[in-house]
């Protein structure tokens, strides 16, 4: 996974969750970040889609276990 993808995703998390202290690594999951609840998850998805100009499908958006899987899905879409 490219370091660049996770860096961009990190920026999106900081912006959407309005928390400057967030530092993501591939193992980070919703348990690790207080603000990452189901409502904010929706906003994160929309922001990521917009930023990378991609569209996820409905089965993947609730299936990621952590940020690493999320980034892998982004990169898979970018390759298509």
């Amino acid at each position: 996974m490219a370091a660049d993808t996770i860096a961009q995703v990190n920026k999106i998390f900081i912006d959407v969750l309005d928390n400057e202290d967030i530092v993501l690594d591939p193992t980070t999951s919703a348990k690790d970040i207080d603000e990452w609840d189901s409502l904010n998850h929706i906003q994160l998805i929309v922001a990521i889609e917009k930023h990378f100009k991609i569209r996820f499908n409905s089965s993947e958006i609730n299936g990621w276990k952590n940020v690493g899987e999320m980034c892998a899905a982004i990169e898979k879409r970018l390759e298509q």
């Binding site: 906003q43 929309v46 922001a47 409905s58």
Partner: protein, 575 residues
């Protein structure tokens, strides 16, 4: 449009000092994010929405249970948000033989919601039209089948609009219209619907927040009254001073069409009651020429209430237009193609709305329409007369300068007033005055048409509506007084409102005579009044003192016994 995220960030900002408005949000689908968008948009326009959000799909429970949170919250507004997705679900659950009655059933439900709420609360109710979903069960043939979903949905939308036309306290937030503008793809995200039960895509929510807020603000008295237009490259293509009458672009050919259609729109707004004014850097005679004699001009001189073309700054000229019309800067919209002029106006007079016009004239009109600048909460026949009234006012100003004394001038006007209690014909205009008048308004209490009807029928109240006519024309209904029996033989002036168009005519004194006469007839000994200051009603700060009332405990008192009728130049039509 602002992003959802930026609206969400507004929630952390300071809301103190903003206008407070209570809204109840009843929704058939998940509404937390909509709640955020509404609250966040409110901050953008200086409103602190206190929102009660009912749990998911509780509309019936909240409306029909008299002990529900809705009723204890007692909101100013109730937004009942119904989605097309639920509509479709319910339609499919309906027995085939009943599907042709689906829209009628829906209308009955909406009516029942409204009637139930109206029987218990004074709240205004806002419902939405349904964004279209074509379920493609019948294809295009659906149009020919009265039990098809799309037919029933469209019928429901029309019937809801008709219901709102018959019901003063019911308003429509036109989500169907928004979807037509923005597209289904933008409004609805299937993935979010399936995963999170979101019936609106995230970035559509700010639009709902804006339109809901537009409606609420127009009902509470904040809306645009005047459209000020630049000329060269805004009303026509080219520069009249350089290109001449033959050279400017307006009419059916080429880019001229963009300007013609913009003019047609402005003319429609004028018919609705928006005052049109011109503010142009030009030589006056040259600027007026197209209005007088260009065959393709839609706008003519008599559509324009104030025409200012000179070489002063636009800022000075806009101040002049504002002072002639006597309206707030915040009720004015200024349209100019020149970015430099726009910036200058915005920084000098931040209250004026100055749209960032696109560069391409073909985009002007679609862009201006998309801003929904001219939301209104009422429409009366008088609205259509407004431009004429402002033009007549300009003629009076010219006449005034030819008289030695003000009395001579007033006497020459042959003023007549139709003075009587509120009646069924005056109710809409009376309500409108309470909603729209900010300056000559002693207590700034807003009333709806239904409130006014109730007051007119209540024996504890006395009411006066006043018109004014003079030899130049009619001002229409320009003054109202609502008085309440305050006990102890005291008549309390609950509302005293006058249009600023008729200041300095002796109308205040004439109205006072009418008040005192009613008080005397009703056996009252005292009339009391009160001034509640707002940002805008400074002109009536000394109103009661000027009329000879005595100050007492923060209120003002006049005694009926020994009242000397004030001299005026106004004749009462009913005597």
């Amino acid at each position: 449009m602002l992003s959802f995220n930026s609206l969400k960030k507004n929630l952390k900002k300071n809301f103190s000092g903003l206008k407070k408005i209570k809204i109840a949000l009843l929704s058939d689908s998940a509404s937390q994010l909509l709640n955020t968008a509404i609250k966040g948009y409110g901050h953008e326009v200086g409103v602190d929405f206190e929102i009660y959000e009912a749990d998911y799909n509780q509309i019936d429970l909240q409306v029909f249970d008299p002990s529900s949170e809705l009723y204890s919250f007692n909101p100013d507004f109730i937004f009942i948000n119904s989605s097309s997705e639920w509509l479709l679900k319910n339609f499919y659950k309906t027995e085939a033989h009943a599907q042709s009655q689906f829209a009628n059933e829906l209308l009955q439900t909406a009516r029942k919601y409204y009637d139930t709420i109206a029987a218990r609360l004074q709240s205004k109710v806002i419902i939405n039209t349904f964004p279209e979903i074509n379920d493609s069960v019948f294809g295009n043939y659906a149009a020919k089948v009265n039990s098809s979903f799309i037919y029933q949905l469209r019928k429901a939308n029309v019937q809801l609009m008709e219901l709102s036309q018959q019901t003063n306290g019911l308003f429509i937030c036109d989500l169907a219209g928004l979807q037509a503008e923005l597209g289904r793809q933008f409004v609805f995200d299937p993935k979010m619907y399936v995963n999170a039960d979101m019936v609106y895509a995230l970035e559509f929510l700010p639009y709902i927040g804006k339109h809901l807020t537009d409606i609420v603000l127009s009902i509470t008295g904040t809306f645009k009254k005047c459209l000020v237009l630049d000329l060269d490259n805004t009303m026509w293509g080219g520069i009249i001073g350089d290109d001449g009458m033959e050279g400017i672009q307006v009419g059916d050919l080429g880019v001229g069409k963009a300007f013609t259609e913009l003019q047609q729109w402005a003319k429609q707004l004028k018919q609705r009651g928006i005052i049109l004014a011109v503010c142009s850097k030009n030589t006056e005679d040259i600027a007026k020429e197209p209005f007088l004699s260009h065959p393709d001009m839609v706008l003519k001189m008599d559509h324009i209430a104030v025409f200012v073309a000179n070489w002063e700054t636009k800022v000075d000229n806009l101040r002049y237009i504002q002072s002639v019309l006597n309206i707030g800067f915040d009720s004015m919209v200024f349209v100019d193609d020149n970015a430099f002029e726009r910036e200058m106006v915005k920084s000098a007079i931040p209250e004026i709305t100055v749209p960032e016009l696109p560069e391409d004239p073909a985009e002007y009109l679609p862009y201006l329409r998309s801003l929904n600048l001219f939301e209104t909460a009422s429409f009366t026949e008088e609205d259509q007369e407004r431009t004429k009234q402002y033009q007549e006012e300009a003629q009076r100003n010219v006449l005034l300068q030819t008289f030695e004394t003000e009395s001579d001038f007033l006497a020459s006007l042959d003023m007549v007033s139709d003075t009587k209690p509120f009646d069924e014909f005056s109710v809409p205009r009376v309500a409108q005055l309470t909603q729209r008048s900010n300056q000559f308004n002693l207590r700034t209490i807003r009333y709806t048409e239904e409130d006014i009807k109730r007051i007119a029928a209540d024996p504890n109240y006395r009411t006066i509506s006043l018109t004014l006519e003079d030899r130049f024309g009619s001002h229409g209904l320009i003054g109202i007084v609502i008085m309440k029996d305050g006990g102890n033989k005291t008549l309390f002036i609950d509302s005293w409102i006058m249009s600023c168009r008729v200041l300095k005519r002796g109308m205040e004194q004439f109205t006072l005579n009418a008040i005192m006469e009613i008080a005397a007839k009703g056996g009252f000994e005292k009339v009391t009044g009160e001034y509640l200051p707002t940002k805008k009603n400074g002109i009536v700060k000394d109103h009661y003192a000027n009329l000879g009332f005595e100050s007492a405990d923060g209120k003002w008192v006049a005694h009926v016994a020994g009242y000397e009728k004030r001299a005026t130049f106004i004749t009462n039509k009913n005597k």
